[in-house]
């Protein structure tokens, strides 16, 4: 089985998912992990898929043409063997909520600190909310903390950004429980 990462983006409307998955089904693809969401006015799909024979974009032939004809942008990435499986993520799971009046650099400043401290961001979503006069930026990060790192440590690392950018940041660890 060869694996691919497929991304599809286009103006949101009902029917995109069915249009895309019908093609993939007819081609004999297996869908594995996927994430599809509305971002702004666009619908964005990211799919990891497998196919027993296909090896590259050419293998799909004209299959994606109907998508392009309906103004969807299609990109296919061929994965190296093993590229479809997630590496083991260790460490406590932590949610970081960041929000404040919109200004440049919020995402970068927070991500920079987390990257330096080897915090593995596993999910990140941002949204511009509020009114046109008073735009508010909201970001929610899910991250895996390195061994031994506590909630207070993350709070401490982010405190200078909180003061600098006048934004609110809360950090909370989600305990993992075996039931």
């Amino acid at each position: 089985m060869n694996h691919f990462a497929l991304t599809i983006v286009g103006r949101d409307r009902p029917g995109i998912v069915s249009q895309v998955t019908k093609i993939l089904f007819n081609q004999g693809c297996n869908l594995a992990d996927s994430s599809c969401s509305i971002l702004g006015g666009q619908f964005a799909m990211i799919l990891i898929l497998g196919h027993p024979e296909f090896t590259n974009l050419e293998s799909f032939g004209e299959a994606f043409k109907p998508l392009q004809e309906t103004d969807l942008t299609v990109a296919l990435r061929v994965l190296k063997p093993g590229g479809q499986t997630r590496s083991q993520i260790e460490g406590d799971i932590c949610m970081i909520s960041v929000y404040g009046s919109d200004k440049p650099g919020i995402v970068y400043r927070v991500a920079e600190v987390l990257g330096e401290k080897q915090v593995n961001i596993t999910d990140l979503n941002t949204k511009l909310v509020g009114t046109e006069e008073r735009p508010v930026y909201v970001m929610v990060i899910e991250a895996a903390l390195p061994e031994g790192v506590e909630e207070e440590d993350v709070n401490g690392w982010l405190a200078p950004i909180r003061d600098d950018l006048q934004i609110d940041i809360t950090v909370r660890i989600i305990p993992t429980v075996e039931l």
């Binding site: 083991q88 993520i89 993992t176 429980v177 075996e178 039931l179």
Partner: protein
């Protein structure tokens, strides 16, 4: 007295609604004991529900006293027949894993304060107030009696659902 194998999803038994216990006879006591034995055998897990060992009756056991999160705040070993949550409030999120759904964990938000009524193995009616991890554990086990898995409660698969780190 026996350690019973834990059923794994997609065993259909895990999606059924368990029947109330009408009479607390020796078969019920035997189920309670099997649940305790099975819980302790599973590296002292914090709870097991009867459907997980293939018994469709409303019986669960919970004991968070041996776990890091629950050792400060618990009622010790709870053997619950026909448990019913009569009050709930607050909210807490934990990343839950389940012996019947191995290798996956997901974020579940539940009330963090509950009042639960049940009959113990001696036939005594009890009402307890549980908070924090104990409250979460009780609700997780009670869900099994209604054919609910934590998978029914995760709000988003986005990254909510992870392969759990190896034991």
């Amino acid at each position: 007295m026996a350690v019973r194998p834990i059923l794994l999803y997609p065993d259909p038994m895990l999606k059924q609604v368990a029947k109330s216990v009408e009479e607390l006879d020796e078969t019920v006591v035997a189920v309670v004991q099997d649940l305790v034995d099975t819980m302790i055998d599973a590296g002292h897990s914090v709870g097991v529900a009867a459907p997980q060992i293939g018994v469709l009756r409303r019986v669960v056991v919970v004991d968070v006293s041996k776990s890091k999160l629950g050792k400060e705040n618990n009622h010790g070993l709870l053997e619950m027949v026909n448990p019913e949550i009569i009050e709930k409030s607050g909210s807490t999120t934990m990343r839950e894993g389940c012996m019947s759904v191995p290798d996956y964990t997901g974020n579940v938000t539940r009330p963090d304060h509950i009042v639960v009524e049940f009959t113990d193995r001696t036939g005594q009616l009890r009402v307890i107030e549980a908070t924090g991890f104990e409250a979460v554990a009780i609700q997780h086990e009670l869900d099994h009696l209604d054919g609910m898995l934590f998978l029914d409660r995760v709000s988003s698969l986005k990254t909510d659902l992870y392969r759990r780190k190896g034991k």
